[in-house]
Symmetry: D2
Subunit: 343 residues, 4 copies
């Protein structure tokens, strides 16, 4: 069986693994208090052109999300998210477990708009009994979204402007950022560091063995952040392991290069699905594609390939998610391509 369900079905990119191997014997203090980690944090600050930024590494995305969000909010505050947002759907209420409500807005192709955010904010502040409802204090965006779509720079500018006007922190979940950066060059790291109070640079889904980097715009605005990380069980003992991986991924444009290559493969598959006359649930430029398949065709393909079920579109058609990740072998893509043509 060839797996296309997610972008974390294999291990790490070869270079990343080699770097872990090469540094294995290196002694270093625990918890990221080492010189290599410090150096990689500087590397990331430089890439983001954000010399004042706080940079912190996490093992996983849910961990990063819940820690950043809980650190940002006071007890009665909540975070605005698309109803399809990962924090609203696929983290088992991790944000609520820290005491905070996710304020979900209806998505359009995975995205929410500046107008929706403004309306939600105004509805709250305009309510004479506003202290009876959760105060919106942060906006959470996924980029790429859970539907593989992207915010345009124009859309992000508008959201940033509203967030700033309303005093809402802006947090962008970049679990699949490599694919986003590769597909839409206008949205790059310095831009994100400029508009976001916090954002993550995904590793697990983008070639690392594991790991996410959180960039906090202004370290001074996130005091004592390492306490938060430790309290949430997210401070890796051998913290250096995370630095080593991101050092490799982020050197010399490798991260974007990896993303571009995966996008290319995914888009090739997308064209093949379109060539068969199939619809797409969402039209994406990144590494996730969402073809709507006749159930018969799906059954045939599933003899060899595993996809993630997305939704039953009607009684005869099913939308699936197909991910092509950094570590997806080219031959797997070719095999699916051939199988499609042979349908």
């Amino acid at each position: 069986m060839i797996l296309f369900q997610s972008d974390y079905q294999e291990g790490a990119d070869a270079k990343v693994l080699a770097a872990l191997q090469a540094t294995n014997a290196l002694q270093s203090p625990g918890y990221g208090d080492d010189a290599l980690t410090a150096k990689v944090k500087d590397q990331i600050r430089a890439l983001c052109r954000a010399p004042e930024a706080g940079v912190h590494f996490f093992v996983g995305g849910t961990q990063a999300n819940l820690t950043v969000i809980a650190a940002a909010l006071r007890p009665f505050e909540g975070v605005i998210s698309s109803d399809l947002g990962h924090i609203n759907t696929h983290e088992t209420g991790a944000v609520e477990a820290t005491g905070h409500k996710v304020l979900a807005l209806r998505h359009t192709q995975g995205r929410i708009s500046a107008e929706q955010i403004r309306t939600a904010y105004d509805a709250h502040t305009g309510d004479v009994n506003h202290e009876h409802s959760v105060r919106p204090a942060m906006v959470y965006l996924s980029h790429p979204t859970e539907l593989g779509t992207l915010y345009t720079r124009h859309e992000l500018d508008a959201i940033h402007a509203v967030a700033k006007a309303c005093g809402l922190k802006l947090f962008l979940d970049g679990a699949r950022l490599a694919y986003g950066l590769a597909a839409e060059e206008e949205v790059d790291l310095p831009y994100l560091a400029g508009i976001c109070d916090a954002f993550t640079i995904g590793g697990t889904k983008c070639g690392a063995l594991f790991g996410e980097t959180a960039v906090l715009k202004n370290a001074a605005d996130w005091p004592h952040f390492r306490y938060h990380i430790k309290q949430r069980g997210a401070l890796l003992a051998k913290g250096r392991l995370l630095a080593v991986q991101f050092q490799t991924l982020l050197a010399d444009g490798y991260y974007i290069e990896l993303g571009r290559e995966a996008n290319r493969k995914a888009q090739r598959l997308k064209q093949a699905f379109l060539g068969k006359g199939y619809q797409l649930l969402a039209d994406t430029k990144t590494n996730q594609i969402f073809p709507v398949l006749p159930n018969g065709a799906l059954e045939t393909l599933q003899k060899t390939f595993a996809f993630a079920f997305w939704e039953a579109v009607d009684s005869a058609h099913t939308a699936v998610r197909i991910c092509v990740g950094v570590t997806t072998p080219e031959e797997n893509v070719l095999a699916l391509h051939s199988a499609l043509e042979a349908l």
Copy 2:
């Protein structure tokens, strides 16, 4: 500088790293839903002679502790611990962050006794207003303790008996279990699986790149446990990575062998300190030693070696912690030994 501060200053044992390398390209479903993970769980159940046990992998110890404890307790319940217990001192209130009080008892050489637990339990239940105080519902032990000491099988039997009589769950934190199993053969995995409702088999401090295994005595008593793991941000996307490491560590007695070797090195250092006429803060048989050094001697050694400060014993003496881990090179131990002799 040669580091002896902790047992996680290097990467992984060579065999573990090789196993990660060897399986890197293997495709598998995420989150530990794969065949290899299932197989390793069976391997662990067999080692523990606990066919009904739930086995779950975590990236780190704080994560494992907070997830197991929060899963076991109802909101008004607390966990009894030594006041030196890791959950009481060095997890930034991670247990409290899940809503639960740690009920600390005064330790003796890192340990608490069955009698202390019984007294605390009786004090609660005997109080006519018991619902005004936190209900003890679990006992947390570290083995080895934070002072490197061990519970004897006799002590554990007594604690188990009290816990059972009082309806308290028993949870043993085995972050350094390799060293404990190697040093005290009467306490082995089947024994622990017999007396504990839950215990962990440490990886991070015992040769893994990262990872802890939680063994839940009776899976049926911990329903829906994976929801807890996911909610706490502790469900590793590439879950297989954890299984691969524990498969290697636990095969053919390797885990205990690694522990024995480190203990041997540590004990050799201990003898050297004793040979110099220094006291020990706690007398240990495991990989952690706690010599009390004259401040002058400490200063000299610290030019070359890094230790963990433990406490100022008096104005002229300081206790330090020295850890020799699975991955500590023999030459580092020899270097310290020589330096000691040269003092």
Copy 3:
């Protein structure tokens, strides 16, 4: 200014206040551990024909809701509610502050249906990655709803059947139960005690100075419940005060009588609004009415009367909420009636 914004604008019903006065000097143990409280709990069990029920008193509704819900759920579980449900809209995320997600379903006239609940439950359990999302474990209904509407016995039967089939606890918030019981005789206390795992009998909005009674179907299913109450800061020191009030309210059908009288007054006003040709946002039989007023008429009325703003229906019309409570003086109702006729 004459106030119609809520049903808690005055103090207590005269009989309730007299009972507090009459028992003021009575000595009793704290926290409801007294004979009078025990007697009133028996009285309530008898009224509900639920001899096994747990009966507990709270000072307020948010307190009662958050305590009952947090006691019922395990950390990864959530509570299904109408999106208009009080816990979802007007308790400042009190349920989330205990760690639990409110799983909101779109309301129809304030109500949700058995079908919606079933669909939500099936969507969760049918998801292969169900442990990545919050597990529905309870259904929260308000009766009367926040829109003053009522569930029919037929609807409640269907919801009860689905809840039972899916293993969901059923919790009914009866903050305004007096008005509901009076308006719909088929839904009475024994019926509620039969279908609900927990429900509340409102005092604050129904003639008490303050207080809510929680009836827990089977006390044995809610072990150690008083610990929960105390932990949430909800165990009134002079617990007897709550028993005294409910003793008075619930004696000899007085509670329903009070509700009926308020409904009568409210319905009289409703007819007056309809008589003016105004629409209703929701058609209610209880003590809350929701007329849609031309803005000009609203402005005129607001010179003398205060209503709760509900929503701007269009640029020329506004829906308001008008409450007539147990303690609303008849002359206030007459004054509004006259003002309406004079418009």
Copy 4:
């Protein structure tokens, strides 16, 4: 049976009850958004000579404590308390349920000292791994303490100085403040408002039917505080009820007068116990006394009088707590006095 277990065994002081009666029909907006509440808040600010203070009413002490503490702390911060402190012993882990650790220090006669606080703070900040432990951020004192003792102005000055130097907020729980203010005139409301970031003025144990007032030194330092109150279920619907009671209690020195009278009665009993040659567990000047009784004498007294068991001092002696509250009838005190003499 004559009850001396606590200071909340009867209802309210007669004047307080009369005020509730007199204002019962008054219409007012809910949640303390009314003119009377505003006026009483001004009255309290004036009494405290603290024009910038935030003043908020709560129904009960646990509620007030958990709300103030959770509002003050960030997730990784804890509150320093005497190990006998109410929040550490008799609130069922209410503070931990909001996510925060209580950092308990050994008490001396119910009190902790400035030195102890300084030492605890220094131990934390001096730890190189300080982010692995809970950060002390607030000091909680009870005055009078749980042992009926009082801090001197000198002691409070020292604690204030340390708290200020260390950036710790100072919170004083005045559940029995009437008795404290009456017994030690140097510590008055303006003084407390000057040194405390927050303190409470107790009602429930000092003549109110129920209620505590929280005074927040500088309202601007506690932004959005009403959200916290509502989220914790602590915003009383008929908020005016609390204002009415404190208006009465705090007018014209009545509060202190009530405290003085109760202290007088308690002290009279204390002298009677001393006259019998009995020891005191703690020597108090307030309304709580802690005689150590021979078990035989205790048995005899308990035929007529109920005391709170405090501790078994030895096999032949038991310490009990005897409370004389604002509402304790003089004849009860006389009866106990006579019984003592007749022993």
